[in-house]
């Protein structure tokens, strides 16, 4: 990984610019870490367990681990194992970057505890607005997305206030015309593929291997794509108002707690209850038919597409 030059604080913390290895240019630049201990020595032998524990500060990691644990004890070991694996990997990744950020952030330039937060939220929320989308990703340069702009960027207009003039189109000649029809064609192809996927996978009975393989494969592929980098390079959105976030959080938590309460009211975790149905129990009649499974799968695909496009 190439080490990029350090930015000033105004440009946002550059914890993600640190190399992935334990020792790197960050060690060379500073003579000593906090307390006079050389940072290279501090980072020389990070315990993987401590790294994972450091990643548990991320709420989403804790949520994933809870989901994985509940799935495991509810008779869905494959679900549980995969989610636990993803949660631990994410915790390790977040903890690793957090630990790398500590020596880089420590020093006389530290301005406030908020800025010293080694979590990754700060670059996306504060830094990238000033430093641009390239500063936003976790050690994955966004230059790839910039070098190969997505169809949405190229087709929607290259600059605000400068609509694609016919003269420009004429100068551009073929490539621009190709781009104009390529995007709808690509969208139509993706749509057709999605419908085909929903119909074919929906034809398999639930919890069968033919249904498991395509669902698990697609899920893994999407997570891998999301892990690497976002599909579109765009400035990070501003943090929404805290009150609004709290209200959405309240609805989300209420839904989770209601589902959990229903689950715990069952005779046991693997046996559904009519008196206290979970969402899974309520959707069983719909998912017992081919059409119902296909519609739900289409909705799942649409939601995944929506998330990937964010």
């Amino acid at each position: 990984m190439m080490a990029r030059p350090r930015r000033s604080r105004a440009g946002g913390p550059s914890s993600r610019d640190q190399p992935a290895t334990g020792r790197g240019p960050g060690d060379k630049g500073a003579s000593s870490g906090p307390g006079g201990v050389p940072p290279g020595r501090v980072r020389a032998a990070p315990s993987h367990l401590v790294t994972v524990l450091a990643g548990l500060r991320e709420p989403i990691v804790v949520i994933l681990l809870i989901i994985g644990f509940m799935s495991w004890i509810s008779g869905k070991p494959l679900d549980g194992l995969l989610i636990l694996l993803a949660g631990v990997s994410l915790a390790w990744d977040a903890g690793r970057r957090s630990r790398q950020a500590v020596p880089a952030e420590a020093g006389p330039a530290r301005a406030s505890p908020a800025e010293a937060d080694p979590a990754e939220a700060s670059p996306a929320e504060a830094g990238s607005a000033a430093a641009g989308p390239a500063a936003r990703e976790d050690g994955v340069p966004m230059a790839t997305a910039a070098a190969h702009p997505p169809a949405s960027v190229t087709a929607a207009g290259s600059a605000p206030g400068a609509p694609p003039a016919p003269a420009a189109a004429g100068r551009a000649g073929g490539p621009l015309a190709v781009r104009r029809w390529r995007r709808p064609a690509l969208s139509a192809a993706w749509l057709a593929a999605g419908v085909l996927y929903a119909v074919v996978v929906g034809s398999f009975s639930r919890y069968s291997w033919p249904a498991t393989v395509p669902v698990a494969g697609l899920g893994a592929a999407v997570v891998a794509i999301g892990w690497r980098s976002p599909r579109h390079a765009r400035p990070a959105p501003a943090r929404p108002p805290a009150a609004g976030l709290a209200l959405w959080g309240l609805v989300f938590v209420a839904g989770c707690l209601w589902e959990l309460w229903s689950l715990l009211e069952q005779p046991n975790l693997a046996t559904s209850s009519y008196a206290h149905p979970t969402i899974s129990t309520l959707t069983d009649p719909v998912l017992s038919t081919w059409a119902g499974r296909s519609v739900v799968l289409a909705g799942w695909l649409g939601l995944g597409w929506f998330l990937v496009e964010r």
């Binding site: 991320e58 996306a124 899920g219 609805v251």
Partner: protein
């Protein structure tokens, strides 16, 4: 109203609360962000983005996979 009805009603109330929040966000000047903006903000860092995508994958696994 039996336990089944009360449980289903609870889900509906929560769903309705979400719909009301979305309507308030899009139809009024209340300081409530639309759900899309909340998700876009949440997807702004790798940890949250991957976490949300894993949760999405889990939904598919939970309903269809072994």
């Amino acid at each position: 109203m039996n336990s089944h009805d009360a449980t289903v009603l609870g889900y509906l109330v929560i769903l309705l609360a979400g719909i009301v929040l979305q309507l308030l966000a899009t139809r009024t000047r209340a300081p409530i962000p639309p759900l899309g903006k909340v998700i876009a903000w949440a997807m702004g860092t790798r940890t949250r983005r991957v976490g949300i995508l894993v949760a999405w994958a889990w939904v598919g696994l939970h309903f269809f996979a072994r």
